[in-house]
């Protein structure tokens, strides 16, 4: 698809080798299993809610695969399970947010290079810009990868973020997963100006649209964007065109705004199936590999479910423990009162 990024000739632009292609497939399979299972867990009462990403595996895995966790940092919203998995985040800790254990998740953001799960749409887009500017200030090479949706792109913060990043030449990749819907509102009722990528021109930022169902295309677009940023050229907008196949969340009823027939037509080819066909056709993988990948994904899902089920509620004092680095007498008094009253009951 369109790319107005100048070609960058660096070592990390080599085509993906067979091992990497297979790794991408394994990641997507793991994500697919965990995602569909999480919806089932919700139905079974194991978790109270979940925001599925069925159909967005290529966009999430492909983009996150371009990230270097030794130096980069990703800023997710609430739907980036595939990103977390591709980055190697502890998935029980990640899924704990959907168990209502802790807002933001139980993983360690600085260590895993993934910011806490974010419920305010576009809330973290400016954080990515600030973090990226920090890289410039300290002479580091890290790039911020900011995830958000087509709906979020309507938020003022996204416009402020793009303008800030362009003015400051901040190394940030704005990665939009345009999954066609913001809950019930389709992109054409959401995004003016043609596309989110098209808006980038207004900020003099390179804007790329990529087929978000093609994991390799997504990876390459993101990798090129990273290289562009690392060379000091400022931000890039990457809009991955994909489709949210299921409901917005486990509380959503998509039947109220689209028919199953429309869903089938608009969704196109399943990204996982599509990649599988490609690997088969190119001789990069065989049925035995796929079977093994699926077995591994199933086993992983099961281990995560067991971990999630074993997660007890947090001790109540933690409610007070993390408000501040330096607690206050008022808060200490409240914690004491809470302890006394909860022991009394």
């Amino acid at each position: 698809m369109d790319s107005i990024l100048p070609a960058v000739g660096t070592a990390d632009t080599a085509p993906l080798g067979p091992g990497q292609l297979r790794e991408l497939y394994s990641l997507m399979a793991a994500v697919r299993y965990l995602d569909t299972s999480a919806v089932a867990w919700q139905r079974q009462g194991i978790i109270p809610g979940y925001a599925p990403e069925l159909g967005q595996e290529a966009a999430q895995v492909g983009s996150a695969y371009a990230l270097d966790t030794a130096r980069d940092f990703a800023f997710p919203t609430y739907r980036e399970m595939g990103v977390a998995r591709a980055m190697g985040v502890d998935m029980v800790a990640y899924m704990s947010t959907h168990k209502a254990t802790w807002h933001g998740g139980m993983y360690n953001p600085p260590a895993s290079r993934l910011a806490p799960i974010q419920a305010v749409v576009a809330g973290s887009v400016l954080h990515a810009v600030g973090w990226a500017h920090g890289q410039t200030l300290s002479g580091e090479q890290g790039v911020a990868l900011s995830y958000f949706g087509d709906g979020a792109s309507s938020q003022g913060d996204v416009h402020e973020a793009m303008n800030f990043a362009a003015v400051m030449k901040a190394p940030v990749v704005f990665f939009i997963q345009n999954n066609g819907w913001a809950i019930s509102v389709p992109t054409e009722r959401q995004v003016a100006g043609g596309s989110v990528a098209a808006r980038a021109a207004g900020y003099d930022i390179p804007g790329i649209q990529v087929d978000g169902n093609d994991v390799v295309a997504v990876y390459e677009a993101t990798r090129n964007a990273f290289a562009h940023c690392r060379q000091g050229n400022g931000p890039v907008v990457v809009e991955a065109m994909t489709y949210r196949r299921g409901p917005h969340s486990t509380a959503d009823d998509p039947g109220r705004y689209r028919s199953l027939d429309n869903e089938r037509i608009d969704a196109g080819v399943d990204p996982l199936e599509r990649f599988r066909k490609r690997l088969l056709a190119e001789g990069e993988a065989d049925e035995a590999f796929f079977a093994a990948a699926h077995d591994a994904a199933r086993a992983e899902e099961e281990a995560i479910r067991i971990g999630i089920e074993a997660l007890g509620p947090r001790p109540g004092n933690e409610m007070f423990d993390f408000v501040f680095q330096e607690t206050t007498p008022v808060l200490e008094n409240q914690a004491t009162r809470w302890r006394e009253e909860s022991e009394h009951v």
């Binding site: 807002h103 806490p116 810009v129 600030g130 890289q135 303008n163 800030f164 993390f322 501040f324």
Partner: protein
């Protein structure tokens, strides 16, 4: 400050550490020193660089510390505060400025949902050592949105700390203190006091964590903060002429409130009037009154009085003097408390 510098300064002659500064100069000096001692601090906002800020609080800092440490941002408050979150995540200590209190509103989302919660959300792994400087309160006949009292709004938000200095000495020390803390602090500068001079002891800030008795008295405690402290001191002088001995308590920290010092003061005087510029309803006066009731209920001689702004949008300059508690209104408040008779 290193141990040896501290000793040196302590030994320095009184005139070297005692200096007359306006609050503007005191804040400027504090920022200069913070930038010099902590290489991770950044000072930024609208017009903070070359211009030195519309109130000149950042005057000369860009020239001295460079335009990567002190810089102008695009004109977008949410952008400024949201960027501060990311910079804090990257290990910096942002000291952003919003140009006027009323323009903190466009950034409320980032302040409340992000700055105040990131430490919590991340289970303490992403501290937000951000000091947000907000030129605050009225009294300068400014246009709409250039004079607001947001303390109750900020103080109500879990995860934020709120402080307001009332004189140059405290401005200097409290800003340095706030900037050295690991938690977000909303630093409310009383803009009507920017140009008032006062003694600053640069070597000895005293205790900076709680409230401060700025004038001891026996008959009644006036509780105030920010610009209202100076006004309450004037009131105390006038009341003294009538034989009323007023204690003036500068709350300083509006979150967390120093309940112990409040209790000690009112426990002694047994009467209290809270004075603030913000509207009456759900203002911090209510919080202060409750804290006093809780600790001094048995000894109080009268219900706690409040002398405040009104529940109206901040009025235009011509009506400002009617809105901000003036000397007469405060004296009347004192009178109500002193004349209270149990029914």
């Amino acid at each position: 400050m290193s141990e040896s510098t501290a000793t040196l300064e302590a030994r320095a002659p009184m005139e070297a550490r005692l200096t007359q500064l306006s609050m503007q100069q005191a804040l400027n000096r504090a920022l200069d020193e913070v930038l010099s001692t902590d290489p991770k601090t950044l000072v930024f906002g609208e017009d903070c660089g070359q211009l030195g800020g519309v109130f000149r609080i950042t005057d000369g800092l860009q020239t001295k510390h460079g335009d990567t440490r002190v810089f102008d941002t695009p004109l977008a408050e949410s952008g400024i505060l949201g960027m501060s979150v990311g910079l804090a995540m990257a290990g910096f200590h942002p000291i952003p400025e919003v140009q006027f209190d009323g323009f903190a509103y466009p950034a409320i989302n980032q302040i409340v949902c992000q700055i105040a919660r990131m430490n919590y959300r991340s289970r303490g792994t992403l501290p937000m050592p951000i000091t947000l400087r907000v030129p605050s309160f009225g009294g300068i006949r400014a246009p709409e949105h250039h004079g607001e009292s947001l303390e109750a709004l900020f103080a109500h938000v879990p995860g934020l700390k709120v402080v307001s200095p009332s004189d140059p000495h405290d401005a200097y020390h409290l800003l340095k203190y706030a900037a050295s803390r690991p938690d977000p602090v909303i630093f409310m500068e009383p803009k009507s006091r920017y140009w008032q001079k006062g003694d600053v002891d640069t070597a000895d800030g005293g205790s900076l964590t709680g409230a401060r008795v700025v004038r001891p008295g026996r008959h009644l405690t006036l509780v105030a903060w920010g610009a209202m402290v100076a006004r309450c001191l004037q009131v105390a002088e006038l009341a003294a002429e009538d034989g009323i001995d007023v204690e003036v308590l500068d709350l300083r920290w509006l979150k967390p409130i120093d309940a112990a010092t409040l209790a000690t003061s009112v426990g002694k005087t047994r009467r209290a009037v809270v004075v603030h510029e913000a509207p009456l309803t759900s203002g911090l006066g209510a919080e202060v009154a409750q804290l006093i009731t809780q600790s001094c209920f048995d000894t109080l001689k009268a219900p706690v009085e409040r002398v405040t702004g009104f529940d109206v949008p901040y009025p235009s300059g011509d009506l400002e003097d009617e809105y901000i508690p003036n000397i007469d209104r405060i004296l009347l408040g004192i009178q109500r408390v002193l004349e209270y008779r149990r029914g």
